[in-house]
């Protein structure tokens, strides 16, 4: 009886004891985890978890070094280790706009759990007193409020806590100290662009943003504000950050170009009413000069035309404007540029180009998306932002680009993290014509000088379209009336004849 009682006591006490223990999984779980890890993760994170692997040199941010114990995404206090659930969440959802994929749907929940336990083996501290970290409570988010006072309060908090020093006054990632930021592994790191919350590593819901500044991102300069920002101000800050961005990038495929009657004078006002379209920019990784981490990830485009000219406005976010030095699409690059990306490298200026076919294409034919080829050259509206001129270059492939002597009108300005570049050129250039109501292929390329981008090391886009909206749209009233009457006439004829015939038969 006594033994039974003792057993019962031990049984009751057991869960309390277990809670004290660190959550490290079983031997079998860790072994299973290793098996999946070596197949799916080791080429980036290293067989030893130390981020030395075949793919690592080409990736930025660098795949996580698990032996450091530094995890960006945590529900735990600043400087602490993550919980098992935190690690599982990072594996499940990945880190957007980095090479860390989302494994949800690819790996099973069991595999993800096994992996999390295996990752913990790389950092001995998980097995020590710090292995059972304290979780920072995230309250349920109150519903979003766009009340101007509430948002103004959020903006005040944003300014008072030096968020702007890194993230920029309007959150475009262009704060004063942004260019110098480094992470704990010695890599340069960029402060997040608050106007693109789909790129947030640790999630983009309002709870996520709350947690991010409460816990900080270990291993990065992004600090924790748990002690500094009062509870009643936190959701105002979250809502202010939330208000800076739309929900999704909403990538487009066609720029509708509006007609204008007068002269096109390059200015802010010229494009005011024109619809804006946002396109993704990705690294050029097809030819030597491969850019695995382009500094720019999207471009906004507007355009207008009149009877002889077309004007196109490009806007993109850039941490700093490089207006010294030079750039040129012809600069020769090795297959891999061994230079550390994203460090101020004096000498390379920002530059941008609009790429168009050199002649009106037939059907689906286009110039090769890189820089064209000799079969179908490309017309490149290029400007080096260290200069104040722009020209049309003819591209017949990388390294085969020549100035064809046509000058373009151009205006460029950089303000609070945004480059605005406007081009104006003729609607008919040589064999390329842009009549109304037609689709003209277009693509874009951006060189971020700060990131050492030059020559073929650049951010680029796929082929998209300009559509020149007709200046006068034909009214539908006349054609509608015409067809209504034609069909009605035919009906009357049929019904009339049938009735006539029926009456005849009756009288007969």
């Amino acid at each position: 009886m006594r033994i039974l009682l003792t057993l019962l006591l031990v049984y009751i006490a057991y869960p309390a004891v277990a809670q004290q223990e660190n959550d490290l999984g079983t031997e079998a779980q860790r072994a299973e985890g290793k098996e999946v890890y070596d197949i799916k993760c080791a080429h980036c994170h290293g067989y030893e978890g130390d981020a030395s692997a075949v793919a690592t040199p080409y990736l930025r941010p660098t795949p996580r070094d698990f032996t450091s114990g530094n995890y960006k995404f945590r529900s735990t206090a600043s400087g602490e280790l993550p919980t098992t659930e935190d690690i599982k969440r990072s594996i499940r959802l990945g880190m957007p706009y980095t090479s860390m994929p989302a494994w949800e749907g690819i790996l099973s929940e069991t595999e993800i759990t096994d992996l999390a336990y295996y990752l913990k083996t790389f950092e001995p501290a998980f097995d020590g007193p710090y292995g059972n970290p304290t979780v920072v409570e995230i309250p349920r988010a109150p519903s979003y409020s766009a009340d101007p006072d509430h948002l103004a309060r959020g903006q005040e908090i944003f300014a008072a806590n030096q968020c702007a020093d890194c993230h920029g006054e309007n959150g475009r990632g262009n704060g004063e100290s942004a260019p110098e930021l480094m992470d704990d592994w010695g890599d340069p790191i960029r402060a997040a662009d608050m106007t693109k919350r789909w790129t947030f590593r640790a999630g983009a819901t309002r709870e996520d943003i709350y947690r991010t500044f409460m816990t900080g991102l270990n291993g990065t300069p992004m600090p924790s504000y748990e002690q500094t920002i009062d509870a009643e101000d936190r959701w105002a800050l979250v809502d202010y950050v939330w208000s800076l961005s739309r929900d999704t990038p909403d990538y487009g495929t066609t720029v509708t170009v509006q007609g204008r009657s007068g002269e096109l004078v390059l200015s802010e006002g010229l494009f005011e009413a024109a619809p804006q379209v946002y396109f993704p920019i990705v690294g050029q990784i097809t030819e030597p000069g491969r850019a695995f981490y382009p500094g720019v990830n999207g471009i906004s485009v507007k355009a207008v035309y009149n009877n002889s000219e077309i004007a196109i406005q490009l806007q993109w976010h850039d941490m700093t404007a490089e207006t010294d030095g030079m750039n040129n699409p012809l600069i020769e690059m090795p297959m891999f540029d061994p230079a550390q990306p994203d460090t101020t490298m004096d000498g390379w200026s920002d530059a941008v180009a609009i790429l168009l076919p050199s002649r009106t294409p037939e059907g689906l034919e286009r110039p090769y998306f890189m820089f064209g080829d000799s079969r179908f050259p490309m017309s490149i509206w290029y400007t080096d932002l260290a200069t104040d001129s722009a020209a049309v270059l003819i591209g017949q492939g990388s390294g085969r680009i020549a100035d064809n002597g046509i000058a373009l009108e151009r205006s460029a300005s950089y303000e609070d993290g945004v480059w605005t570049v406007q081009f104006k050129g003729p609607r008919n250039q040589g064999e390329l014509t842009m009549p109304e109501a037609t689709f003209v292929p277009i693509s874009f390329t951006i060189w971020d000088g700060f990131n050492g981008e030059r020559g073929n090391k650049r951010g680029l886009s796929a082929w998209y379209h300009l559509y020149l909206e007709p200046m006068e749209t034909q009214s539908a009233v006349l054609p509608m009336a015409k067809w209504f009457l034609i069909v009605l006439g035919a009906e009357l004829l049929i019904v009339g004849l049938v009735n006539l015939r029926a009456r005849r038969r009756k009288t007969a």
Binding site: G283, R366, M480
Partner: protein, 275 residues
């Protein structure tokens, strides 16, 4: 496919068949009308991305001809149908209904005219041939390779020398993760970190319609010559697939091919079978 709409249409048809017919007897003509409307709704709203109007008009014209042919194949039924139409047009009792129908038909045509004039203009659509026939031979780094007879030299080792084979697979993994996954993705599902910026999208090797139905020599051609080596019906100028002949050796290409099959678990199509 817009499964929701298609299911709704099917449900409506079932409803007509089993419920409505309890109260109203539907003759053949009414049935044909119902089918016509159901098919039109399916083409117009059930397919994603939507078909262009001109294609829908073409389909409906074919269906109309087919229905008329069906009707006229049986003299008795044709006669019945004719009689019911004539009755509708001449009987006083139907006068109001006739006037309504006579107004609705031209109104529908006018509405269609309006819709087609206000249709958002569509950019030239990118119908491309994904798997064009390969050339019979290619020149690879100065030597000619006959694609109809070329075999993956590493494939033999799979059964004769497992250790050597495993080494080639490991090398293939290195090549893939140095060069390919930015586009084709970690898991070879075509969703790499840069995939969203390219059109056409990078190939999904987990899909049964890519490497699972191709010969290894076909892959060799695609990897060596990339987009620039495609014929024009495959829109080589839009595809971002690089030509790897300048950067990888012949053996490295065979190795990465082996790795694609090992990682996805597919078998290549045997040599000698037509593409």
């Amino acid at each position: 496919m817009n499964l929701f709409v298609l299911l709704a249409i099917a449900a409506a048809m079932v409803l007509v068949q089993f419920v409505v017919t309890r109260w109203v007897k539907l003759n053949l003509l009414a049935w044909m009308g119902i089918w016509w409307v159901a098919l039109w709704a399916a083409f117009s709203y059930g397919i994603n991305p939507p078909l262009p109007n001109s294609i829908i008009v073409l389909f409906m014209a074919i269906i109309t001809i087919a229905l008329v042919a069906y009707l006229s194949a049986d003299n008795e039924e044709l006669k019945q149908a004719q009689e019911s139409i004539v009755r509708f047009m001449v009987t006083r009792q139907y006068r109001v209904a006739l006037l309504i129908v006579m107004f609705l038909i031209p109104a529908a045509v006018a509405a269609w005219t309006f819709a087609s004039m206000n249709e958002a203009p569509q950019p030239p659509s990118s119908g491309r041939t994904i798997h064009p026939p390969p050339p019979s031979s290619i020149t690879f780094q100065g030597t000619s390779i006959n694609l109809t007879t070329a075999n993956n030299p590493i494939r033999e080792l799979q059964h004769t020398d497992e250790a050597a084979f495993a080494e080639h697979v490991a090398n293939g993994r290195r090549i893939y993760f140095e060069n390919c996954f930015y586009c084709h993705g970690d898991n070879m599902e075509g969703a790499g970190m840069f995939a969203h910026g390219y059109d056409p999208l990078p190939a999904n090797f987990n899909d049964a319609t890519t490497i699972a139905m191709l010969q290894e020599s076909y892959l060799f051609w695609r990897i060596a010559k990339g987009a620039p080596g495609l014929p024009s019906e495959s829109t080589p100028w839009s595809s971002a697939m690089p030509a790897w002949e300048d950067f990888l050796t012949e053996e490295e290409i065979w190795e990465v091919i082996i790795f694609l099959y090992e990682f996805t678990g597919f078998e290549p199509r045997a040599q000698g079978m037509p593409h």
